[in-house]
Amino acid sequence: MEAAKRWRVSAGESEAWMDRAVHMAKDALENGEVPVGCLMVYNNEIVGKGRNEVNETKNATRHAEMVAIDQVLDWCQQHKKKPEEVFTHTVLYVTVEPCIMCAAALRMMKIPLVVYGCQNERFGGCGSVLNISSATLTDTGEPFQCIAGYRSEEAVEMLKTFYRQENPNAPKSKVRKKEFSK
């Protein structure tokens, strides 16, 4: 595919950006948020970055990717660029496979390529639970390409650390109890 050819990134480049995403995930972990960090890179420049802000905003949809998308939209406004033009030339680097919600959002923004670390067994939208990234969803943007596995051990380790420590902000609902007993 044309897009796949155009959006190949070098391994060295991926390593460098992923290194920074991992740092952001560490920051999330230290702030009691799910340790996911991400960067959006356009023309070799970071135009948006994010880490989970779910607890801070009391909004369960404030995943790192959603925060980063908002930053890119702001960047577009400041630089008087059309979002469509910027997003279709932006690569997302994220420590964990985007969830189903974020994968759908990335499609709608028409991001062509996502480089990620570890799989997201619980919610993954790029193959783990559903394959939103490559599905035929005519009203939900465009499919995107994924490159998985960069710094995945570290990403998994951070998630494990997070879920080991009881999340003081998680609801004490029946659903959660069931989930923990797994």
Partner: protein, 345 residues
């Protein structure tokens, strides 16, 4: 898309309250039953039935198919034999099944074949029925057991909600429709949503689609989730350009126990009303938000709550919620048509 024509009421003169609420069940509950081939045989001597069931079951236990009854009574008057028995599955490893003789099926002689007739192929339900419609379809093929979920049966019959509850549902959907219209006047997609706490009946947030503004991801459900976050002292977006998007300021004097600081899954226990079926992103956002129930007016061509996907009822996600459709369907359909015109025009 073909409108669901079953149990459609004739429109009332004023067209106001002619709607029905229908449950959107899981994929497994909504689909027709799947059949698989088995070898069956007539029981020629009724007195041998008990022994035959015991001996055949010992050789072929069919333990993966506990819903199947071994014996079928043949109701046709002229039938030369009163009963038929399932012997075994007919296609293991997907190979095409041909007819087999009794001695081929029971080569080891563990079964005394006395009283059995010539084997034939029968199609039987491959899975246990989950709903009464599935059960009724299944027993046309072969008798099966059915552990009825009374609540689902009631829901399918349309008698899960009282007239009082339906009146409240209509009010909430009218609010969502009204907000959608206000948004549409600002050039937004005509989609509206409302979040209600069913424990108190209070409307916590009302919002419309804002994707026509600076952020294409601000669909009505995402807006309402964020408005609820605002009402709990959080939130990520400002709605000063969209005065129709409002939330209830939670005051500390309410009878409610104070909401723990930093409680993130703030839609736990809440209902959301949406004029049309949400997309994949919004449906999953509602999973993350731990919503309890979603009521929508009209389906969307690629909707994620019943049309293209069933995000609300997946066993592999950590939260499930109930979904009902059809609330003020005609009005919601008219709203949705507005957006079709806009997109094509």
């Amino acid at each position: 898309m073909e409108p669901n024509s079953k149990r459609r009421k004739t429109a009332e003169p004023d067209g106001a309250s002619s709607w029905e609420v229908q449950p959107v069940l899981s994929e497994q509950e909504s689909q027709g039953i799947r059949l698989m081939p088995v070898y069956a045989a007539p029981v020629l001597d009724k007195k041998e039935t008990c022994r035959l069931v015991k001996e055949v079951s010992a050789v072929y236990p069919l333990s993966d198919y506990p819903h199947l009854k071994r014996i079928r009574a043949c109701l046709s008057v002229g039938s030369p034999h009163p009963l038929e028995i399932i012997l075994c599955l007919a296609s293991l490893n997907g190979e095409q099944a041909g007819l087999r003789s009794l001695t081929e099926l029971f080569p080891s002689g563990q079964v005394d074949l006395c009283g059995l007739g010539k084997p034939f192929l029968a199609q039987v339900p491959a899975c246990a029925p989950l709903t009464r419609p599935q059960y009724e379809e299944a027993v046309l093929h072969w008798p099966v057991s059915f552990h009825e979920n009374k609540r689902i049966t009631q829901a399918l019959k349309g008698c899960l909600f009282s007239p009082l509850e339906k009146a409240a549902m209509q009010n909430h959907m009218e609010l969502a429709i009204h907000t959608a219209q206000q948004g549409a006047r600002q050039g937004m997609e005509p989609v509206g949503a409302a979040v209600v706490d069913p424990a108190t009946g209070r409307v916590l947030a009302v919002g419309h689609d804002c994707r026509g503004g600076s952020n294409p991801l601000l669909h009505a459900a995402m807006v309402c989730i964020d408005l609820v976050a605002h009402s709990h002292g959080g939130g990520a977006y400002s709605y000063k350009d969209h005065p129709a998007c409002t939330f209830l300021h939670v005051d500390n004097n309410a009878q409610h126990p104070p909401l723990g600081d930093g409680l993130p899954y703030i839609c736990t226990g809440y209902d959301m009303y949406l004029t049309r079926e949400p997309c994949m992103m919004c449906a999953m956002a509602l999973v993350h938000s731990r919503i309890q129930r979603v009521f929508y007016g009209t389906p969307s061509p690629h909707g994620a709550l019943g049309t293209a996907h069933h995000i609300h009822s997946r066993r592999d996600l950590n939260h499930r919620y109930e979904v009902f459709r059809g609330i003020l369907e005609d009005q919601c359909k008219r709203l949705a048509r507005l957006s079709d015109h806009k997109e094509s025009g």
